[in-house]
């Protein structure tokens, strides 16, 4: 069976916050949980931004378990934020952008950003000498 990796935001109803859900996921379903962001307070609603890595069957079972506990699951959509106003249009990011989301205009030599083409591979984040790109974890 294939290994899979999913990023998701888990929203816990107030009653579930007290249960060791992450422990159960790891112990019972043999999935690797990487917590990227968390906001949990006992007795209140909370959320966890996690990366779940494991065999496809185990991940599916783990998600079914979460649903049985009334945990709301939202897949995470990564997007790249670009501070366009500060761009000097060098173009260093454009040679590492294969989906074509960052292209140089051949006549004006300005950098063009097409967010709809971006797959959030994150290569531009390290390629930009002015550090104008950042990752944004949106939720569907």
């Amino acid at each position: 069976m294939n290994q899979t990796k999913k990023r998701m935001v888990l929203r816990f109803p107030a009653g579930t916050v007290n249960e060791p859900v992450t422990y159960t996921l790891i112990k019972e379903y043999d999935v690797l949980i990487n917590i990227l962001n968390a906001d949990i307070t006992h007795g209140k609603e909370g959320h966890l931004l996690i990366e779940m890595i494991g065999l496809e069957g185990n991940v599916a079972d783990a998600m079914a378990y979460l649903e049985s506990k009334h945990v709301e699951i939202s897949p995470v959509v990564k997007t790249i934020l670009f501070n366009e106003a500060a761009c000097i249009h060098c173009g260093a990011c454009s040679s590492v952008c294969f989906p074509g989301a960052l292209e140089m205009d051949p006549s004006t030599r300005r950098l063009l950003f097409f967010p709809e083409k971006c797959v959030a591979c994150e290569l531009c984040i390290k390629a930009c000498p002015l550090q104008l790109f950042e990752l944004n974890f949106g939720v569907n």
Partner: protein
């Protein structure tokens, strides 16, 4: 008889606001249909420019004396060490010096912030002497409360530079940007036909004392740059096919504009600084006209493999191909990108053109021309 002009004649025309000024890109386009003889008759000055990361840059400042005075022996500005090995309150901020804890912040950021008029925290220590008794100082400085901010860059405006690719199996983070494995991309750094030293490859008009646009104000070429080389191989159009001549430049940073001096950080390499330079070239005769007509398809550069520590040459290409967004190497199409901003270089060439047309920028004849036949030494380990 062919036309000959002097700096003086051109400056007189500038004063009368009669000089005909074009950017190097405009004259390159004109050169497709007109001869050097026609161009020397019609054009007086050609403006060239570049806006690229230039590590060998920095700024002297004099902070003024405190009371009681201190002879600074160790100093930091916003946590970035600065050179104190000169007189008591003269400091040199090296553009690539990095913060003691944050490798993404360095001297270039301090320079940009001082130019922008921001406050910068100064901490300095000394052992104390009879004439300079103060041992520690902690204060803030800015453009208004210090005496001088003199940008002095030992090596800027490289005349051509090789293209960097990576033939290895893992990504390389270099001063030529992120280089993807297995020739995944190709990065270059030039403004090509707009670049100063590619328009005067023999440096007939650019020399010591040449008045230039530097970082948004007037500056000067103060010397030949470090690693200056005139024995590089040249192509059939008379331009070197690799890094060759360089310029040392100087200017009053208190008049500069942060739009033309930008701090940069290259992943896992470090801090550098984008420097905006514009140089006017007088079209003195047909020979100079022929030089400034140079086009991107006539400028060749070498492609080097940064995946190998020896940087072997894998091929050659032209700036026309590089600027198309793709080159071909070993039957493979490779995406290209520039590290220097042609967009900003054009802005500089246009500003300089306007200043000259309006009679606000006089050309200066070099006080002395650069050395000829200069090669490079390499550092022997012995």
């Amino acid at each position: 008889m062919s036309i000959q002009k002097t700096f003086q004649e051109i400056n007189d025309k500038i004063k009368r606001e009669e000089a005909v000024v074009l950017t190097a890109e405009e004259v390159s386009a004109m050169g497709k249909s007109q001869s050097p003889a026609e161009i020397v008759r019609k054009v007086d000055v050609v403006t060239t420019a570049t806006f690229g990361p230039m590590c060998s840059s920095g700024m002297f400042i004099n902070t003024g004396h405190a009371n009681p005075p201190i002879r600074m022996e160790k100093a930091t500005l916003n946590g970035v060490p600065v050179f104190t090995g000169i007189a008591a309150v003269d400091l040199y901020i090296g553009a690539t010096e990095t913060h003691l804890e944050d490798p993404t912040y360095g001297g270039a950021h301090i320079i940009e912030e001082l130019i922008a008029g921001k406050d910068v925290e100064l901490i300095a220590h000394a052992k104390g002497t009879d004439c300079y008794p103060l041992k520690n100082i902690h204060t803030t400085i800015n453009r208004e409360n210090i005496n001088e901010m003199i940008m002095f860059n030992p090596r800027n405006a490289y005349q051509n530079y090789p293209v960097a690719v990576n033939g290895s199996n893992r990504i390389k983070y270099t001063y030529m940007g992120s280089l993807l494995p297995k020739l995944g991309n190709a990065n270059y750094s030039t403004s090509g036909e707009l670049s100063p030293l590619l328009n005067d490859p023999e440096m007939r008009t650019i020399g010591m004392g040449t008045r230039i646009f530097l970082g948004g104000t007037t500056g000067y070429v103060s010397w030949h740059g470090t690693q200056f080389k005139t024995d590089a191989e040249v192509n059939e159009h008379g331009v070197p096919v690799s890094n060759a001549a360089t310029l040392a430049v100087i200017g009053d940073a208190s008049g500069m504009n942060p739009a033309f001096i930008k701090a940069a950080y290259y992943e896992k390499y470090g801090v550098s600084m984008f420097v905006g330079i514009g140089i006017p070239i007088p079209v003195l005769d047909e020979e100079m006209a022929a030089r400034v007509m140079i086009r991107n398809d006539q400028i060749t550069t070498r492609i080097l493999d940064y995946g190998d520590p020896d940087h072997p040459e894998l091929g050659r290409t032209t700036y026309e191909e590089l600027m198309s967004g793709e080159i071909k190497l070993n039957q493979k199409k490779i995406k290209t990108a520039s590290l220097s901003s042609l967009y900003k270089a054009r802005e500089i060439a246009d500003i300089l053109k306007k200043q000259i047309i309006e009679g606000n920028f006089q050309l200066s004849e070099p006080v002395e021309l650069f050395p000829k036949g200069k090669g490079l030494n390499s550092l022997e380990i012995r």
